[in-house]
Symmetry: C2
Subunit: 202 residues, 2 copies
């Protein structure tokens, strides 16, 4: 049985929960509270040196971390990942965009806004840099989705799952999606996929 | 002929230059000055909506951005990327680690330190957050390399190329690698690979 180390409010964890559910793959979820440092214990760091969730232990004791590497691992060879070489590269392009230009702003602003009592140096740049860069990422997505139903090719893929994870809860960080109609329509399409589960349900 | 939109001091651009050179693949390099906004022109944004280099135009006018998606595209099916399913996932794991936990700190500190006159909100968190997180990333690498020659499996791969790009110039941002002997030995191994080129030479 796959063991998924997870934290329920995490969009990065949600990517893995959502994909495995849609693939019909069983997994055991182990909840760790990142606020309480449960991913920085010696035992966890020994297995996963980066000290972050999500992380998975596969049946044969193989260990893997990084949400987008995990979802690609499970998606390869399924309808959630294209086989065409260039489309496959486009999926990777959007997954790296998500981790570099989207998550550090949209997810981190949500985290800071929903944990107002936690000290964090990033509060100094929340409104001057993080929020504007979050809107930059939304702008890139909106322009891309204006003429497309899905991020890559003609079907739902892990690129959509990765970008959905924090976009659909962006308003919890105070992002206003009113000016992003193509994103809002795409969020509805993702939500209506078979076996979709919400972020707070495994 | 592959067209690579690039900026010579960029470690992200260097990843692509280094891999294509080692693969023996010809390419035309188009230098854009990111400081002067040359990646934010309407013409560039029309092709590459994220407004960042490196980005490539393939022979058949296909467009791709995100450095790690580009190097994976070219590395698949070559000795620079493992075919074993789990090792392939480990390469992806380290590429996402590089873009999420390494580059935003080690590369960005180098950028801020080497451009002292450019205003940037991140200067407010340079020493309180960015530099410590850069050392965190180096610590993860050091522990991993203590018992290994390469990041994945028994050979040099794009995981090594991606992590080499900014680690080997980390001292330009004031990072001290004296306490990281395994990283320093690995840097020498990467540098001694056939057809290696330095960052400032295409």
């Amino acid at each position: 049985m796959i063991r998924l180390y997870d934290y329920m409010p995490s969009g990065n964890g949600y990517k893995v929960r959502l994909l495995l559910t849609q693939l019909g793959v069983s997994f055991e979820r182990i909840e760790l509270n990142i606020i309480k440092g449960e991913t920085r214990t010696p035992e966890f760091l020994c297995k996963f040196p980066n000290g972050r969730i999500p992380a998975v232990e596969l049946d044969d004791d193989k260990l893997l971390f990084e949400s987008n590497a995990i979802i690609l691992y499970f998606a390869e060879g399924t309808p959630f990942c294209p086989t065409d070489r260039f489309q496959h590269a486009q999926v990777l392009q959007w997954l790296f965009f998500e981790q570099y230009s989207h998550e550090p702003y949209i997810a981190s602003v949500r985290y800071l806004v929903t944990h107002p009592d936690l000290p964090d140096p990033r509060r100094a740049i929340l409104e001057t840099m993080m929020r504007p860069r979050g809107y930059d990422a939304l702008g890139v997505m909106e322009r891309h989705l204006k003429s497309r139903e899905w991020f890559v090719g003609e079907r739902y893929s892990v690129a959509d799952i990765a970008l959905y994870a924090y976009t659909h809860v962006a308003q919890e960080g105070g992002f206003d999606l009113a000016g992003y109609p193509a994103i809002r329509a795409w969020l509805e399409r993702v939500k209506s996929q078979p076996q979709h589960v919400p972020i707070t349900q495994s």
